[in-house]
Every structure is written in structure tokens, then in C-alpha cells.
Point group: C2
């Protein structure tokens, strides 16, 4: 079996298991779902975050974000505010509790990042270059594929 076939087979296996990867088991904080944490992350990063901006950033529906933000409000992790000259848009900001979750998530994120970096350290420059090219190509492929869909 040539290399290409082996890569392919493993790649498929990985895909199958990928859901295991995502973020599960992080146990960031019980009682807060993954989507909620991501939402908090967005609110912490976006300038004047509202439902629409968050939904775009998270690639979810406005309806979905509307529900999530409602929950976060209920849990006291975020609060909403409006600008005096605009009665339509509703913005969010993190409360102290939300800030804390935001910080925990960032910490965990950098920990995972560190793990990946030490993982990559075991590869030679040439190997890393090959992997890089591969991922660059894949990414381009996905981007072009997703714009295809938008054009449909």
C-alpha cells in the first residue's frame, strides 16, 4: 500500500473520531455548555457585540444566539446594554462571572496550544513544511468549496 493510500485511510479514521476531539471533556465549568463558553469568548473579544455579530462569528443562526444569550443572561454571566441613539440593537458585556469564565477559557486554550506546539516539535523542518503545505492546501480547498455553496 503506497503512502498516499495510508495517509488517506488514517485521515478517514481521524475524521471518524474527530468529534471526540472538539472540546469535549474539558469540564471548563459544569452548567455551562460549550456553545455558551464560545459565546462568552466572542462577547469578550468583539467590539459592541450583539446577536448578529456573534452569530456571524460563531457561524450559528441569530435565533440560536438569541437563545444562548438569554441563558447567559439568566446565569448572570453577561448583561445587555443599548446605545442612547439606537433602540434596535442590543449589545452585551461580560459580568464579573463572565470575565472569570472568559479567563478560564483563554487559559485552557493556551494550554491546548502549548500541547500542540510540543507535539509539532517532534518533527523536522522539512516535515513541518510538508504538513504546513498540506494544511494550507486543505484550507484553501475548504474555503473555495464553501464559497461554491454560497454561490448556489
Amino acid at each position: 500500500m503506497n503512502q498516499a493510500l495510508k495517509i488517506l485511510d488514517i485521515f478517514i479514521k481521524i475524521q471518524e473520531q474527530l468529534d471526540v476531539f472538539q472540546h469535549k471533556g474539558e469540564d471548563l465549568l459544569d452548567e455551562i455548555s460549550l456553545a455558551e463558553v464560545h459565546c462568552i469568548d466572542c462577547i469578550g473579544m468583539i467590539d459592541h457585540p450583539n446577536v448578529t455579530k456573534i452569530s456571524e462569528k460563531m457561524s450559528l443562526t441569530r435565533g440560536g444566539i438569541s437563545k444562548i444569550s438569554k441563558k447567559l443572561l439568566g446565569k448572570g454571566l453577561i448583561e445587555s446594554y443599548q446605545e442612547p441613539d439606537n433602540n434596535k440593537e442590543i449589545y452585551f458585556r461580560l459580568t464579573e462571572g463572565g470575565q472569570s469564565v472568559y479567563g478560564e477559557h483563554k487559559k485552557l486554550h493556551s494550554k491546548v496550544r502549548q500541547e500542540w506546539l510540543s507535539f509539532f516539535a517532534h518533527y523536522s523542518d522539512d516535515e513541518q513544511a510538508a504538513i504546513l503545505r498540506f494544511f494550507t492546501d486543505i484550507n484553501d480547498f475548504f474555503v473555495s468549496k464553501s464559497t461554491d455553496k454560497i454561490e448556489k
Copy 2:
């Protein structure tokens, strides 16, 4: 920015878009969901497939498979049978319609496989070796991580 960091960043981007990849837009057959097609695939491949075996193969709950198989029965794509010496286990087999869906899915699968192969053809042997090592390592990592979880 060194290579490792670049790979990492791209890898994360890809992850974010990965859901786009899975199987969406295949339009194998309207009126049949992705899970249903996968279920048909399992039933076509497993020896004496029952709810339990399918759920293990698909990494879904028995309850979930129970519902899906009910739908497939309703659509006439599969049928159930039992062995004379066992009144508990219920097995499935594909009907003609199910066979047809099974075949279509296989065809599409090999088409995708072909696309990936021509994709990999653009890489040198050394590059392919690096990519292969990378995926092998990742896969091992995932496997060990998931067994960790089982031990929990």
C-alpha cells in the same frame, strides 16, 4: 512566525470549518438523512446487524439507532428478521431500495476517495511521508485519549 505556529493556526482554522466538510451537500437522495444513509451502510456491512451493533459502529445511542431504524423500516429501505432460537435480538437486512441507496453511497464514497488520491498526488514522497507520520501520530493520540476517557 515559525512553521509549527503556522501549521497550528491553519489546523485550528480547518477545525472550525470542518463541519462544512463532513458529508453535507451530497444530496445522495432527498428524504434520507445522513444518519440514515450511514445506518444503511452499516446494515449492508455488518453480519447480522442489530440495534446494538449498529449503535456501536456509528457511535450513537441504542435509542438513537432504534428511532432511525424505525424510519428506515417505514421507508421500506430495510426489513427486520429474527433467528428461530432467539426471541430477543432483532436483525436487519437491506431491501432492494436499501441496496440501491447502499450502492449509491459506496459510489459516492469511492468518488471522494478518488478526489483525495489525486489531491495527494501533488506531494512528493518525502512530503507524503511527513504527512503520514503526522496523521499516524494524531490518530494514536486520539485513540489513547479516548481510552483515557473510558477509564474515567
